[in-house]
């Protein structure tokens, strides 16, 4: 058994590439569990952050600062009655959330958390990703149609029209990033997700800064289109609660409804990962080529531990500042235990960072590398997840005709223009 694990740690390719289905399965399970946990965390963070944007407190009762609220919600949803309307198409109604979830999760097959920290690396990675993530619209259309009710049908139609409209601009922005990967000595680019990050490393620049401002414009177009693709505010026409109650999932209840939420958040994380991979250097830490001395490597590898340490400190201060009433005693103890767990993780990460500081092939060094890659990738994705919440708190919802006008008359010409300019600049510059 140790030999088996060591043989994996020594490999520098993804499990899919090596043909090792056992490790691929382990990765799949880790990613599935990780995304589910991330969705639970997002649930809490979104409610809390939105509340603070509006000068409210948000969930405060279930657990210290509402930390256990997502679990209480999950339990409530499990115990809720599951209504399938009498006139609905039973089988299609049942299968619709599953389609959405499969589309949202299968995308994670090619997301590169590191040069070998991905389930698989396909040479058509980005095409696969665009194709599968746009299958998510099928789940929405099918759920709206199967409900046999007015609001879900209108919500589903709106959602499908909106998603296909913004997909065009999104695809053109992706093409301009793929085009940049071919600007090397051999003149051949790549569609593989890992290859795209490696191209950025080789060219020594994140594609967001390449041909400034062209790369930046393509990134902004993608960042707008991905909000529309995931049906989030201010483009959440599909579930505009003031006009369509809840849009395509009006008739869904209980756990089946929560599957739609899971699919929506999984899709948000997936599109953010595409943006990070294509324009923000994927798993690379800041300035990998400029500050490449081993000392810098060591300093940057301390970041994961320090982040957890900072979170532990915040939780500790929160525990110390709780009112000294006996009512808060259990909450104070809970928060202190949470802080201790975070501090323990921080300590573990720091120990790994120090033990694996030499860049050799020892187990500790491999672990340190892997943690670094995943940390920087997740940090960049987390920025996007925060932006999603920020958009929702800041901007009012668009009207549907405005939404379609922006998609077809503004985003499409701009993305086409950016692509052509990038191509012309790429040909002219040596």
């Amino acid at each position: 058994m140790p030999n088996f694990i060591m043989s994996y740690l020594g490999s520098t390719v993804t499990p899919g590439e090596a043909g090792s289905q056992f490790w691929a399965l382990i990765y799949v399970l880790i990613i599935f569990a990780g995304v589910s946990v991330a969705v639970i965390c997002m649930n809490w963070i979104e409610r809390k952050a939105l509340a603070h944007f509006q000068i409210r407190l948000g969930p405060m009762r279930v657990g210290p600062h509402g930390l256990l609220q997502p679990f209480a919600d999950a339990l409530k949803l499990m115990l809720k009655e599951d209504i399938i309307p009498a006139e609905a198409d039973q089988f299609v109604f049942w299968v619709a959330p599953l389609i959405g979830l499969l589309a949202a999760f299968t995308v994670y097959t090619v997301i590169p958390f590191g040069p070998s920290q991905a389930v698989s690396d396909m040479n058509i990675g980005i095409l696969f990703m665009l194709g599968v993530s746009s299958l998510g619209v099928l789940g929405i259309v099918v759920s709206g149609w199967a409900s046999n009710s007015h609001y879900p049908l209108i919500g589903a139609l709106r959602s499908s029209a909106q998603m296909v409209s913004y997909e065009v601009a999104m695809g053109l922005a992706v093409v301009s990033a793929v085009l940049m990967t071919s600007l090397n000595a051999s003149g051949t680019g790549t569609l593989s997700m890992i290859g795209i990050v490696q191209a950025q490393q080789q060219q020594g620049v994140w594609f967001i800064f390449k041909f400034f401002p062209l790369g930046f414009l393509a990134f902004v177009i993608f960042a707008i289109a991905m909000v529309a693709e995931t049906n989030r505010a201010p483009f959440d026409m599909a579930e505009a609660e003031s006009e369509l109650t809840a849009g395509y999932h009006t008739e869904y209840s209980g756990l089946r409804w929560s599957l739609f939420m899971l699919a929506e958040y999984a899709a948000m994380i997936a599109v953010s990962s595409i943006a990070v991979t294509l324009w923000l250097g994927g798993w690379m830490r800041p300035f990998p080529n400029l500050l490449h001395a081993p000392a810098w490597d060591f300093i940057f590898s301390l970041f994961p531990g320090l982040t957890f340490g900072g979170l532990a400190a915040i939780a500790m201060i929160g525990a110390a500042r709780m009112p000294a009433h006996s009512f808060f005693r259990i909450q104070r103890i809970g928060l202190a235990v949470f802080a201790a767990l975070l501090a323990f993780s921080a300590l573990l990460l720091l120990v790994i960072a120090i033990a694996g500081r030499s860049a050799d092939t020892s187990v500790a060094a491999r672990f340190r590398e892997g943690i670094d890659y995943v940390y920087w990738f997740v940090l960049k994705v987390a920025v996007f997840m925060y932006l999603f919440i920020w958009y929702r708190a800041t901007w009012p919802r668009y009207r549907f005709d405005q939404l379609m006008r922006i998609g077809w008359k503004v985003m499409l010409p701009i993305s086409l223009g950016v692509l052509l300019l990038t191509a012309i600049v790429g040909v002219i510059l040596p």
Binding site: G16, E17, Q21, A24, L25, V28, F32, M78, L79, E81, D82, I83, I84, P85, E87, L98, L102, F105, T106, Y108, V119, S120, D121, N123, L127, N148, S149, H150, Y151, L153, I154, L157, A161, V164, E167, V168, G171, L172, V175, S176, L179, T181, N184, G187, T188, G189, L191, E251, L255, R256, L259, D401, R405, W408, K409, L412, L419, L420, A423, I424
Partner: protein, 118 residues
């Protein structure tokens, strides 16, 4: 490299097994007492008076058709983008001709009013 594509099916299998299993667990522990009013389509308390599967605006079809055209165009751009530097000026001019034809079509659609959402 076909082994690169096998993990897709692993992913489908894991999601396809775990999610229905969760639904099954929820089915075992929840209460279930449906009645006629609960099973009616939700229309904010008003009894629905016709089927939802009626007519809706033709604009949705136009958007779908336009999407097919532009998305196929985008897919056609990918191979060129991968070999962009190798093809150089020749590839750029070829692609400008292709996009030029498409842009003429786009302008025509715009003037025809197919992009207006009335």
């Amino acid at each position: 490299m076909p082994q690169n594509y096998v993990p897709i099916f692993l992913f489908l299998a894991v999601v396809g097994v775990l999610i229905p299993a969760t639904l099954l667990v929820a089915k075992l522990i929840r209460t279930q007492s449906p009645n006629r009013v609960k099973l009616m389509p939700y229309e904010c308390g008003i009894d629905p008076y016709d089927s939802a599967r009626g007519r809706y605006t033709v604009r949705f079809y136009i958007v779908a058709i336009l999407f097919v055209i532009f998305d196929v165009e985008t897919i056609f751009l990918f191979p060129w983008a991968v070999k962009f530097k190798a093809l150089g000026t020749f590839g750029l001019v070829e692609m400008l001709v292709f996009l030029g034809i498409l842009i003429v079509g786009y302008v025509w659609i715009w003037t025809k009013g197919a992009l207006e959402w009335v």
